[in-house]
Amino acid sequence: MPAANASEAVSHASVTAPATTFQTTPAAANTADAPDTKAATYPPAPKLTASDYPTIKGVNSRVAVWLVAQLHLWFGAFVLAVPIFVFIIEAIGMATRDERYDNMAFEFMKVSIIAYSLTAILGGLLTFSLVLFYPDLFKYLATIFKGSMFAYALLFFAESAILYIYYYGWHWLQGGNKKWVHLTLGLLLNAVGCLLMFLANAWTTFMMSPAAVDAAGVFNGDTWAAIHNFLWNPINIHRFVANVAYGGSIIGAYAAFKFLSARSKEERAHYDWIGYNANFIAISALLPLPFAGYYLTAEMYAYSQQMGITLMGGVFAWIFIIQAVLIGALFLSANYYLWCGMGRSEGAYRYNPRIKYIAMVLVAAFLVWFTPHTLVLTNAELKSLGGPYHQYLGVLGLMPAKNTAVNFLIVFTFLSFMFYRRANKIATVSWVTTGNAIQIALFTVGLINITLLGVYYGYFTNNVYKVAASIPQVLTTLTILVVSTIIDTLMYKGAKEVAPLHWGRMPARSQYALFLLAVAFTWLMGLMGYVRSAIRQHWHVQGVFRDNSVDAFTPDLGYAANIVSIGTILFMVMVMFIFWLNAINSRRVAAKGYWKKPA
């Protein structure tokens, strides 16, 4: 088969011969090694058979690659996210000159620095297992991303260098100009980190929405076009936001763990405070996430209706039910944690009666979201399901109803947070009544508007773009969030504290809410990673490079869920290991009489 040779021959020549040859047919590619063919060109995507995939007895290669990739992604997400909010916390510390923030930021870094080496190890393992089990795919992708692979390596070294200076120089670069240097390092660290992630995302999205290749997979030499493919930015955005939320939740679990095992009151107070902040970060990033998700979906539809339908209407429709359950769990546990947090002060009792209404709305919104779409299925799938499902719940299963529910979920979570913030304070400005009235009006009008929009789009339009039609709802929600934050900030400027805030006065069960958040988040990420891959069905690179391995079939949901569970457990074990390393790091044993006395 000349393709392999050709690819070798051309990958050298290609450096000097850029995009001009991209219209050469695949047939010409195979003759590239003939001496008189001037045109250097790229090979088409190989057509493989099952025997082209190396196997190792007793190892399911797909599951192996799947788990390693997922573990790498989890750690990568965490490691990239932490510096983002550490940067912000450090800046807050500098602005307020409150050292607690600086210490907290450093403590976060301490957790993530060990995770960083695990990320790198897993990344190496991932490359290794790809080369081992999917050599042709790896080679094909590597040819296309040759230029960026080099950049990736350089960025990785830069990231490591900056990270270590940032971390080990923390206590050295303190005060005045030095602190500014340190902050700048943090910024640099984040810039490099994001670039790294974006480059990695290019591979993933290229496999979903290939660009710069023709239908036979012949690359036209334009690496940037391959990177900047149709779904690249939507995934970049969704992952960036999701990573921050995820990072927050893992730190939350760390704090919860420390809180539960704390021995002194001070320690408990400290970790309660950290847990609170971590939860705050997780929620703040959680709120915009559904929007990023719907944007991603809308873009998938725009790229290919077929892919959109496969995603939302076919076998995978059920995955969004599971997703809804998990996201519902995320929102509920985040809210629950906030409500528990009201126990930190006596001032909060005033708000307790209102909580149950918020809880009711949240559950209702959750149930609507949870209602399945009408499903589009192949005959065989219809048979295995025993008929299409939920035709009667039709409208509630539609996108507008779901969007409405999601917006409610977000607005009411925000409300929980506002109550929490206000709980211990009494505003002293003269316009409190007016301010409150405006806010109530804002929420009421906003929620009515969201409902009306949902009803309008749900019943009275027949457009195919119901996903994109939710924009006015989103804008309403954002308006509520922004305007009411502004009003609240002004209104509670210089507010009186009702009673002292007792950090550490939290029931133990509240800490389990933080664990739930972390575990559910991890599992959700794994699940969505499966969907992202699975909608390619039997393609390595959608429509261009077919998967002909024995594992080309799309695994069903139950099976996928079990793999995700195994992955989550592995991840949790590694995370516990990191926490434990952290704990022993601060332990000091004085082994009396062991060391010889200095002379």
């Binding site: 219809l382 069905q537 079939f553």
Partner: protein
């Protein structure tokens, strides 16, 4: 240590819960296996095998069941044999078929020849079919495959199978399928293939003097419209209707048929027509 155990137990319980829910809480659908790339030996096939081959295409590559299922997107085809003979006598029938077999063939490649009442494209008053031409772009069945599908339709609706197994090998069937069909390389080719010129005038010497006046003149469209607008005009023509034209005229199937690259090529081409 006690805490570690409790936390571990709690986490395992949750993970187990998620798994259990995904396994037992929702119906387990086994996704369709990847389409098999068939080695076609038509000459060696019995009629039964040929019909079965048609059935596989119907349920697989043809994507027919995406629309022809019990959810009302398209008529059920379980009685198509007798329905076809009735439709042939229907005054609204505008095709040229004489027999059921010809009718079915026409339904597959010129779906608008007869549109089942109530299933036409919105606004076309049942004159245009939303069903794609199965030999074109998105589905790309070959003649032999179409014949097999017809045989399958006849067999499964209980009528007599009249199709003869084609003597020719199915052109490339087995090794090649729609996604792997040679790509179109120029916007002109794309415009020609998808017959945009029937309705539009485009820029470029080859395309300028075409008769298309059913839709807006696109020769300078790039001067007034953004790329996003143009992309949407192709994917979802009814999202914004050009002034002075009716909705529902511009076909809505391009989103399914155009390959992503072809789409981008068209959008680029139009955006540059200033």
């Amino acid at each position: 240590m006690y805490n570690v155990l409790k936390v571990t137990g709690f986490s395992l319980l949750m993970i187990g819960g998620f798994s259990a829910y995904s396994n037992y809480g929702i119906p387990q659908i086994i996704p369709a296996p990847p389409p098999v790339e068939e080695k076609l030996e038509l000459s060696a096939m019995t009629m039964d095998q040929f019909v079965a081959f048609g059935g596989r295409i119907y349920n697989g590559k043809g994507t027919c069941t995406l629309c022809h299922n019990s959810m009302g997107r398209a008529p059920m085809l379980d009685r198509i044999g007798s329905v076809a003979s009735e439709n042939l006598k229907n005054p609204n029938y505008r095709g040229t078929a004489k027999t059921v077999e010809e009718y079915l063939h026409e339904s597959l490649v010129k779906p608008s020849a007869f549109v089942t009442a109530g299933f036409g494209k919105a606004g076309s008053n049942d004159t245009e079919s939303p069903m794609p031409d199965v030999s074109g772009g998105g589905i790309g069945l070959f003649e032999a495959e179409i014949a097999a599908v017809i045989a399958y339709l006849q067999e499964s609706s209980g009528s007599e199978v009249t199709v003869a197994i084609p003597a020719l090998p199915a052109a490339g069937a087995g090794t090649s399928n729609a996604e792997e069909a040679a790509p179109l390389k120029t916007p002109e080719e794309v415009i020609a293939k998808y017959t945009c010129g029937v309705c539009h005038v485009f820029a470029g010497h080859d395309l300028e003097n075409r008769p298309g006046t059913l839709g807006p003149n696109l020769a300078r469209i790039g001067a007034t419209r953004s790329r996003e607008y143009l992309r949407q005009a192709l994917l979802d023509p009814d999202a914004v209707i050009a002034k002075g034209y009716a909705a529902g005229m511009m076909p809505k199937t391009y989103g399914e048929q155009l390959k992503a690259q072809e789409l981008e090529m068209l959008v680029n081409y139009m955006a540059k027509s200033k």
